[in-house]
């Protein structure tokens, strides 16, 4: 038996994705709007579904509707539709009750670009 502990410290540079990654860190949903069809992808697509490569960064409201959700030992996750986005998003659900149908993006509590959706502040609705 060979027992070996390997510790790796990665430094990853997001490059083109920097606005997206920085947005997540601050609790903002930065999406990519296509110059040609105005399709808005979140997470952003470098090449739009219509094949256009030119686009601009836009900030979404951060509110999203939950389409499907799963929970269990692995945690709570959802497939959601952000307001203003034409693609859907898979993300982590935090403090969202089973009966809740929508939520708002939240800044992660770790230093990873973790896409999180949490419950809406009381009184706020989509």
């Amino acid at each position: 038996m060979i027992s070996h502990r390997l510790t790796l410290e990665y430094t990853l540079h997001p490059g083109w994705l920097a606005p997206f990654v920085e947005g997540i860190a601050s609790g903002n949903a930065m999406a990519r709007r296509c110059k040609s069809c105005a399709g808005t992808s979140f997470p952003p697509l470098r090449v739009c579904l219509c094949s256009e490569t030119e686009g601009e960064w836009v900030k979404l409201s951060g509110m999203a509707h939950i389409l499907f959700r799963t929970s269990g030992q692995d945690g709570d996750f959802g497939l959601v539709q952000f307001d203003g986005a034409t693609t859907k998003t898979t993300l982590r659900l935090i403090d969202i009750a089973d009966e809740d149908t929508c939520g708002v993006i939240a800044a992660p509590k770790s230093n990873l670009p973790m896409l999180c959706l949490t419950r809406l502040p009381s009184g706020r609705s989509t």
Binding site: P14, P43, L49, T70, D74, L79, K88, T90, L115
Partner: protein, 393 residues
């Protein structure tokens, strides 16, 4: 040269399980290769190229494994190539090897698939690594696990196709039952509905028993050009068609998050090479990483237009019109990732020659068999259709 000029002259698998018997991945590859070479009737010196399927260096802690394994197999000097495509790695290696023969680059090649997915790292470490099989910078960093992504995709599929918990149960019970007759399978257990319900929820609707286990093991193939085939291998099946395709890496960017569109494309390409439709497939080894993934695959491959109805009618049972996962599939036989696709192809080849485990071997040899894999949540799909040899037993 046509694809049907590539013959499977050798095929073998080691047992898939948690190999905590002191052996290592090099041993498993040597074992599978030796058995496959013996079946082929060829000599080691006849092998002109080696293709190695292995998903991740993290598992075996060996970068550049193809050259290492070439040495271990006594093949030093041959061209050695490592092929990787997540869960599709094995089929991609098969395709790459067969295309080399088609291109005239070799007469005989070896394909080996291997991964120690179970015993070299903790389950939590493997789970985190698998999270980076999707888009590492979005899904992976978010902590989305493989099971959670598959669960979300399956829910979309179930909402559209009307599949139920009973269908997940049927797939689970059927695959595990088949595995009980496969002495090389990881799990020899007959799970019933109650055991499934009582198993822990991993990512609803998936309970633990709806999931495939992490396994260790290897599989090997010897592929030969028809005009160089050894005289004693007249029953060898042919690789009749191959197809591969990719889909958007983000589940949410797909037109239908529950549809395995890449699998449909891959299957269409493979069928076009053979000149048949999906309805002519007699047996299939399907990539059942999860019970629902098998249902999604059946639909995407065109094996059924009414998946739930046909499943419950026994169409995919061992005696059905298209027996699925006689080996037990990933859910029963196990999932040492790099070995999976190579092992599926080996299983199909052995069945088409009447050489499979006696209790699972169909009495009437089907003409066509399908080996189906994918990586990610079907982000990358690769399928292979094999045809029974004209002189099969």
């Amino acid at each position: 040269m046509q694809i049907s000029d590539v013959m499977v002259t050798g095929a073998a698998l080691t047992p898939f399980n948690r190999r905590r018997d002191g052996t290592g991945f090099r041993d498993w590859v040597v074992s599978a290769f030796g058995t496959a070479l013996e079946l082929s009737g060829l000599d080691r010196s006849d092998i002109q190229a080696l293709y190695v399927a292995s998903e991740s260096d993290f598992f075996h802690l060996q970068l550049n494994p193809a050259s290492v394994l070439a040495t271990e197999l006594g093949l030093t000097g041959v061209a050695a190539t490592r092929c990787e495509g997540g869960g599709a790695s094995g089929q991609i290696a098969v395709h790459t090897a067969a295309r080399a023969i088609q291109a005239g680059a070799a007469k005989h090649v070896a394909v080996v698939g291997v991964d120690p997915s179970a015993s070299s790292l903790s389950g939590d470490a493997i789970r985190e690594l698998y999270g980076f099989s999707f888009d590492a910078w979005t899904d992976g960093m978010t902590g989305l696990t493989s099971t959670a992504l598959y669960a979300l995709s399956y829910q979309v599929f179930a909402a559209e196709h009307g599949t139920t918990e009973a269908d997940l149960t049927t797939v689970t019970c059927q695959n595990r039952s088949n595995a009980c007759h496969n002495p090389g399978a990881h799990l020899h257990r007959r799970d019933g509905p109650q055991e499934i319900t009582d198993s822990p929820p991993i990512a609803i609707p998936y309970q633990r028993l709806h999931c495939s286990p992490l396994s260790d093991g290897a599989a090997a193939l010897i592929l030969s050009r028809r005009d160089a085939m050894p005289a004693n291998r007249a029953t060898a099946p042919t690789l009749a068609g191959m197809g591969a395709a990719s889909d958007h890496m983000h589940l949410g960017a797909r037109e239908n998050a529950g549809s395995f569109a890449a699998k449909t494309q891959a299957m269409q390409r493979a069928c076009a090479e053979v000149g048949i439709g999906p309805g002519e497939i007699g047996i299939a080894e399907i990539y059942d990483a999860y019970a629902g993934a098998q249902l999604q695959a059946i639909a995407a491959l065109g094996l059924s237009a009414e998946v739930s109805r046909d499943l419950q009618a026994g169409a995919f049972a061992p005696t059905g019109r298209c027996a699925i996962n006689l080996s037990g599939g990933l859910m029963g036989q196990g999932a040492p990732v790099g070995a999976t696709g190579v092992g599926q192809t080996a299983t199909c080849a052995l069945i088409l020659e009447g050489r499979y485990h006696p209790e699972l071997q169909p009495q009437t040899l089907p003409r066509y068999a399908l080996a189906d894999t994918h990586g990610g949540v079907c982000t990358l799909a690769a399928v292979t259709i094999l045809e029974r040899g004209s002189s099969a037993l």
